[in-house]
Symmetry: C2
Subunit: 431 residues, 2 copies
Amino acid sequence: MAVQTADTATPASTAAPDFGPAVALSCRECGERTPLGPVFACASCFGPLEVAYEFPTGDPEGLRKRIEAGPDNIWRYAPLLPVPIDVTDKPNLNPGFTKLVKADRLAAELGVTGGLFVKDDSGNPTHSFKDRVVAIAVEAARNFGLTTLSCSSTGNLAGAVGAAAVRAGFRSCVFIPHDLEAGKVVMAAVYGGDLVGIEGTYDDVNRFCSELIGDPIGEGWGFTNVNLRPYYGEGSKTLAYEICEQLGWRLPDNIIVPIASGSQLTKIDKGLQELIKLGLVEEKPYRIYGAQAEGCSPVSAAFKAGHDVVRPVKPDTIAKSLAIGNPADGPYVLDIARRTGGAVEDVNDEQVVAGIKLLARTEGIFAETAGGVTIGVLKKLIETGLLDPSEETVAINTGDGLKTLDAVAPTTGPTAVIRPSLDAFREAGLA
Amino acid sequence: MAVQTADTATPASTAAPDFGPAVALSCRECGERTPLGPVFACASCFGPLEVAYEFPTGDPEGLRKRIEAGPDNIWRYAPLLPVPIDVTDKPNLNPGFTKLVKADRLAAELGVTGGLFVKDDSGNPTHSFKDRVVAIAVEAARNFGLTTLSCSSTGNLAGAVGAAAVRAGFRSCVFIPHDLEAGKVVMAAVYGGDLVGIEGTYDDVNRFCSELIGDPIGEGWGFTNVNLRPYYGEGSKTLAYEICEQLGWRLPDNIIVPIASGSQLTKIDKGLQELIKLGLVEEKPYRIYGAQAEGCSPVSAAFKAGHDVVRPVKPDTIAKSLAIGNPADGPYVLDIARRTGGAVEDVNDEQVVAGIKLLARTEGIFAETAGGVTIGVLKKLIETGLLDPSEETVAINTGDGLKTLDAVAPTTGPTAVIRPSLDAFREAGLA
């Protein structure tokens, strides 16, 4: 086992826990409150817990100015997150405030006339949106005096946890399905923490982690997406905050979000609602759309069938970062898509690859398969009339194409390979 | 040939060329001036041309405030670059203002007590510093009415040009050695421009591009690092500007820069000199160090031998992005290292891999091989007493580890692969 050096093994602060504006955990099902702690399920009804806040109110202009004067990362929103106000003094990867790219060429190709933006989270430190959620989980782990950071992961999260643990001074031990993309495996391992491949699917990995938490082995462990899940999830709110701030403190008409567990989509909705309540943006209708890969589309299937429950599936898709067959937040995603007038749609693997290439050749953004799902679904939503192209739309690219090279490599290579001569260049038909 | 759509084929502005504060090209050898144009060699002495400016003077505080109020990318320094002041209105990848990471854990490991920072340019849009230089070359191409963007590349530049061309609306046709890392080849091709593999080394590719420029085929082509080289090179100045601004508008004691052509190092020195002359930082001594891989170390060899000229070599190193055997700016690098009291050093491939892993496990930054060279050389400079660990040092990571997975993949993988059970976990010795 890779044991880290002594000075990195004691990251926990001896100070009293400080969660900033967060005051409790609250059950999404029964509403019962429980004190802030490393727990994720309601003691009464086993419903999922989320962070409840007491926010500063009454001075939206002051809050807006305070945010704008903050650092160019998610900590500019510290007053709205479960973190201490001095969070920037502690070592962290400082993700966020990624580019919101005005995608005029993609809009032209898709016939979008109301404005199209890509929120490009491949610009995060480990090149996926996971850096956002992990950053919040790290602060929770510090508050709870935990010493090992862990997670079940389809790849991106493993890299994000490995890197964040190193920067923040935790030991890490992360779990992935054994058959992930090479790039993601190397990235998860290179930071020097323990990386364990599990013979099974992501859902098997997840079940194993739940077992580990209940066992004495897991004492002192913070599983970012299990026992730290209520805090972790809050990181996704920052995507909503940034989109609205970067649009000039206003809501877009439509947001398209890829669905793995569904957490990101539900927290984006939570973030938008908070901005409205705090008076940071003007209230207006918005639609949230979910995007899945056909080979793992339980939420899309439930949406189309008009069901309230999500029937688990066994994933089979190249979009491995979305390959969660039993998505924890599936029912909430259905609620939000229906309440806002959005939809949940899916595309097949061929359309995923086409989506990656479309975004690359129109905007110069190389997305991972999850981004291909989002762009593929955007195209399909417009074609089927479910999304109004005369409205303003934001599509979220959650990760980087370099992590899923295999998806495009077979059909992406040199136009020609030639000798270094003008004649050879002419012969290749490129002159 | 991949022809782009009509609306992207006419990117050239019909307005008069506008290079902002740039007033001429000036020969580095004989000083003769020539009008701003797509030329790179002095007509009198064949010396390399660089951009000459008339900068605003007399109000450093006003200039500093103007910069600080600018966008979070290189265009905040538009008043110091050969670009029009409305550059932000034009589609571009908007690179730069990447993180300056305070590397306390790396410092502890290396015994640096004076402060150590990593300028992490893997945060750029295509994850290398090349986005900076290409962004400036794109604006020059617009000014000159060129329609095809091209380059000779060891990989990173090809991706940067491919992506920037798409965003800015140019056709692209880029040239690489045929045997590059898979990630770089896919990244160079995915944006849909033409990508040509050349059977030969980077130096062969470079010679071929020079031939192409002289041929009618090359009419209307902007080779970012050949006929647009004077503009392109200026992009590297922004690394110097950002480092000093992020340190609170002051010079560090030492900067370590990897050497391929040597251009980046010379332009960082130029940028520091400009900041001093403009009164944006207080003048004080600083040292610039160059880092090469042993398998392609012509500048390091010349430095150690006390030579003024650089003898070309045939590269053989895993640090392919630095594998330029005949570095154009080699002699200038020697001048700068000697003038500032720095040095040029090299490390072998094993030390490169160790450098990558050291940075990853101490700071959570996954660098490409060039970054491994820089960190390896930093370590060596301290061990050999050439760099004073009680001084403040900035090391530049120019690219992303996901692009050179092969370097670490053989020695980087899961700690264990197990069945999803607590018993299997215990048996693996990880509990």
